[in-house]
């Protein structure tokens, strides 16, 4: 299979702006899926609302374009009811961590097997460039016209603290690493988070004078470094890329299977008062 076999070609060219990082995330994700060799019928993609969410319409899987911030909650219901399906949940930064922040940390805590992708372009693009919880202090946006005084979340630290069993970060510039980390995240049994720093030249780039999509990619190249690199020791401001957490933890659906076994055993037991338990 080539990656074009995984898309709904009739909807291309896609709606994203020229140079938008979200198309690069789609590109990397499809390569990851192609490499793993998943069947289209076993993948469910659930997205929320925003530029990022449109990704679901372009892939030829079972796709669900839901409501703002709740993609992980929908995905939880799908996965729990049919654990053999592979769940991929791409979200924007506002989608995942502002309106959907609560679902995000609880999904991480629950450790149900699914892959959350945070397509982090640090802005609400669909609505024209408002600051998001990942924009960061000092950034400009239509709703922080005198500079932003909100501090940003660190997606990796947040995910680790919330209990995600797989946490990775990369950028759209690092296309091969992106496909690699996404692939490992999809294979990982448990809740995986992949933050992909993505460029929005139209809204974030323009308002923050970061230049074109190319300039923004150069910026990713220069300001990130592999985890634990020497460069990081010299310049602590560099953002680390790679897989931060990859650990075995009890997966929710598997754990629930044990609950079912336990409950079924007690069906015919009598309770303490000698009454037959009613089932």
């Amino acid at each position: 299979m080539a990656i074009r076999d995984y898309i709904r070609e009739r909807f291309f060219p896609h709606i994203w702006c020229p140079g938008c990082g979200h198309g690069m995330v789609l590109n990397g994700l499809l390569r990851a899926i192609e490499k793993i060799g998943l069947d289209k019928n076993e993948i469910v993609m659930v997205s929320g609302i925003g530029c990022s969410a449109r990704i679901a319409g372009y892939v030829d899987f079972h796709t669900m374009h839901t409501i703002h911030g709740r993609a992980l909650a929908f995905a939880t219901g799908i996965k729990m009811s049919r654990p053999e399906l592979k769940l991929i949940v791409p979200m924007g930064d506002g989608d995942a961590l502002a309106i959907g922040g609560n679902h995000f940390i609880h999904a991480a805590r629950r450790n149900m097997d699914m892959t959350a992708i945070v397509m982090n372009n640090r802005v609400y693009g669909m609505t024209g460039g408002q600051y998001s919880p990942l924009s960061g202090y000092g950034t400009m946006s239509t709703t922080s016209p005198y500079s932003n005084i909100d501090h940003a979340f660190d997606v990796v630290e947040l995910s680790v603290a919330a209990g995600a069993s797989f946490v990775g970060r990369t950028t759209t510039y690092h296309a091969k690493q992106m496909a690699d980390i996404l692939g490992q995240a999809i294979i990982h049994k448990g809740f995986s988070v992949v933050e992909i720093m993505s460029q929005c030249p139209t809204c974030f780039g323009r308002q923050n004078r970061l230049g074109s999509a190319i300039d923004m990619l150069e910026h990713f190249k220069e300001n990130t470094t592999p985890i634990g690199s020497k460069a990081k020791q010299k310049n602590p401001d560099l953002i680390e890329r790679g897989i931060f957490v990859q650990k075995k933890m009890p997966e929710y659906c598997s754990e629930y299977e044990k609950i079912i076994e336990r409950a079924m055993v007690t069906v015919h037991h009598r309770d303490r008062r000698g009454h037959r338990e009613y089932n």
């Binding site: 080539a2 060219p13 020229p18 979200h22 590109n27 499809l30 074109s212």
Partner: protein, 81 residues
């Protein structure tokens, strides 16, 4: 191991939005934008089939078919070079 050789550099002009990412990051400067702001292979003979243009294209508009790669049908709307 034999170096991969470029067989076809397919650019889907209907999908290309002319962002220039492929042009800028090509290590061999194979690609350029034409007068219609669409990417095209100016120097295909220099291509080393690293496929970075294909991997980075936000519009999924580039496909590198190399002698060692997995050859497949050409896209229906592609510009063949």
């Amino acid at each position: 191991m034999e170096e991969p050789k470029l067989k076809e550099l397919v650019i889907n002009r209907d999908w290309c939005k002319g962002c220039g990412i492929c042009v800028h990051f090509c290590p061999k400067k194979v690609l350029e934008l034409d007068d219609n702001e669409k990417a095209f292979a100016k120097r295909p003979e220099d291509c080393i089939c690293c496929k970075l243009c294909e991997f980075r294209c936000p519009d999924l508009a580039i496909e590198i078919i190399s002698s060692r790669g997995t050859a497949r049908r050409a896209p229906t709307k592609g510009l063949l070079l």
